[in-house]
């Protein structure tokens, strides 16, 4: 990679980090602690503490496991899988926390006549952004897998361009099947686990049926749904950023290539900015979930 290209990448990464930092600051400003329902104080302390402990255990395990994954694997494949590994650990923590919540015991049991739905607890804006990132990631790795060429060991890790009769130029890493197959498997697994986790959140028993208890229990569920969405965001956005970055670097490194490759390279670098913003948003949700829980849910 040339010196000019490196400078451009440093500038782009710097811009992404600045955008992310600005977004985190904005989120911290707009999601003030005052937006947490006052009823939260009424949540049975044990349930709130258990779910929080499990959630933090998931985040901590995810950071360690993601770090281990990033440091392992050939040709940077582990680095690409670090995001999904982190996301899966967080999801496991949320599920364990929700399963640990037990309904109020005793001979007299009460229940509210209501239908709890996943969409009532999800952060709609963030969920749409995560779905968009997953769709872009799917489209991108489909294209990179289809266009990848074999390296010296026959693995799909490079992009080849024909410069003349019998003359080829190749650059990598390129997200061919060597990277995309395990990545797709991990992301698909993560999204399925997220679906299961959301069902667990919705179906677990209420901790109480009095009005304050119901509102506080809803806040707990909403917090869990935000965490799940945030984990899915990291799970998709981190590999998307990686694929965009290496693909752009490969596309812009060729000395002979179709003109549109340059535009495609810059377009991929442009995708990095919203992707970094999404990662920052998700990190803010995961690391400060209490600030992200909005007002009490509307009556159903």
């Amino acid at each position: 990679m040339g010196c000019g290209m490196e400078s451009v990448l440093v500038l782009v990464i710097g811009a992404c980090l600045s955008a992310g930092a600005a977004l985190v600051a904005w989120l911290a400003h707009t999601r003030s602690p005052g937006s947490i329902p006052a009823h939260t104080a009424a949540v049975p302390a044990a349930a709130a503490r258990r779910t929080a402990n499990w959630r933090w255990a998931g985040v901590t395990t995810g950071l360690v496991a993601g770090g281990v994954a990033a440091a392992s694997g050939a040709l940077g494949r582990g680095l690409l899988l670090a995001g999904p590994v982190f996301g899966l650990c967080v999801l496991a923590g949320v599920v364990a926390g929700e399963i640990s919540v037990r309904p109020a015991g005793g001979p007299t049991r009460t229940a509210v006549v209501e239908v709890r739905r996943v969409r009532d607890y999800l952060p709609h804006g963030l969920a749409k952004a995560v779905l968009a990132a997953a769709a872009v990631l799917l489209a991108l790795v489909t294209v990179t897998t289809a266009t990848a060429g074999p390296d010296d060991l026959g693995r799909g890790t490079v992009l080849l361009s024909r410069c003349g009769p019998g003359s080829w130029e190749g650059h990598g890493p390129w997200a061919g099947s060597f990277y995309s197959v395990p990545l797709a498997a991990m992301v698909a697994t993560g999204l399925i686990v997220a679906g299961v986790a959301l069902r667990v959140v919705i179906r677990r028993a209420r901790t109480g049926a009095d009005p304050d208890g119901v509102a506080a229990d809803d806040a707990l569920r909403q917090r869990a749904a935000w965490t799940i969405t945030g984990a899915c965001g990291i799970l998709t956005a981190l590999p998307l950023a990686g694929v965009c970055l290496v693909s752009a670097a490969a596309l812009l490194s060729f000395s002979c290539h179709p003109a549109w490759w340059t535009y495609a390279g810059w377009a991929l670098l442009a995708v990095l900015i919203p992707t970094a913003a999404l990662m920052a948003w998700c990190a803010a949700v995961l690391l400060a979930p209490a600030r992200a829980v909005t007002a009490v849910l509307p009556a159903r």
Binding site: P103, G105, P107, T108, R109, T110, A111, V112, V113, E114, V115, R116, I202, R203, R204, A205, R206, A209, P211, V214, A215, A299, R300
Partner: protein
Amino acid sequence: MTDRPLLVVDTGNPTPPYEQLRRQLAELIQSTALSPGDRLPPLRQLAADLGLAIGTVARAYRELESAGLVRSRRGGGTRVTATAPSLSDSERQRLLHNHAKAFVQQATLLGADEQQILDAIAQALAT
């Protein structure tokens, strides 16, 4: 205070839990606290909230369906039917009287006198 109705199941009561559930849901439907088209909680959710077996809740729903009060559809859940009969004024009065009688009976067993019973009702109405 939530405007969503509550279901209460007393496992120490000799009446089977499914019958307690059926009776309360039937009253909610007939008093139009649950309107035609309203969806009942999913079986698993209600069973988890009440700490009952799914089969217990399913039996209550089946009984309600047999009585024409609800209709279950695969994928659409269990909903109150449009033709569910509503309570007449006399029937409503009779049910109210029965509930009051049961409450007074329980309160008397606890040793409460008439004033304490009236105070308890006033307190419940105020919350």
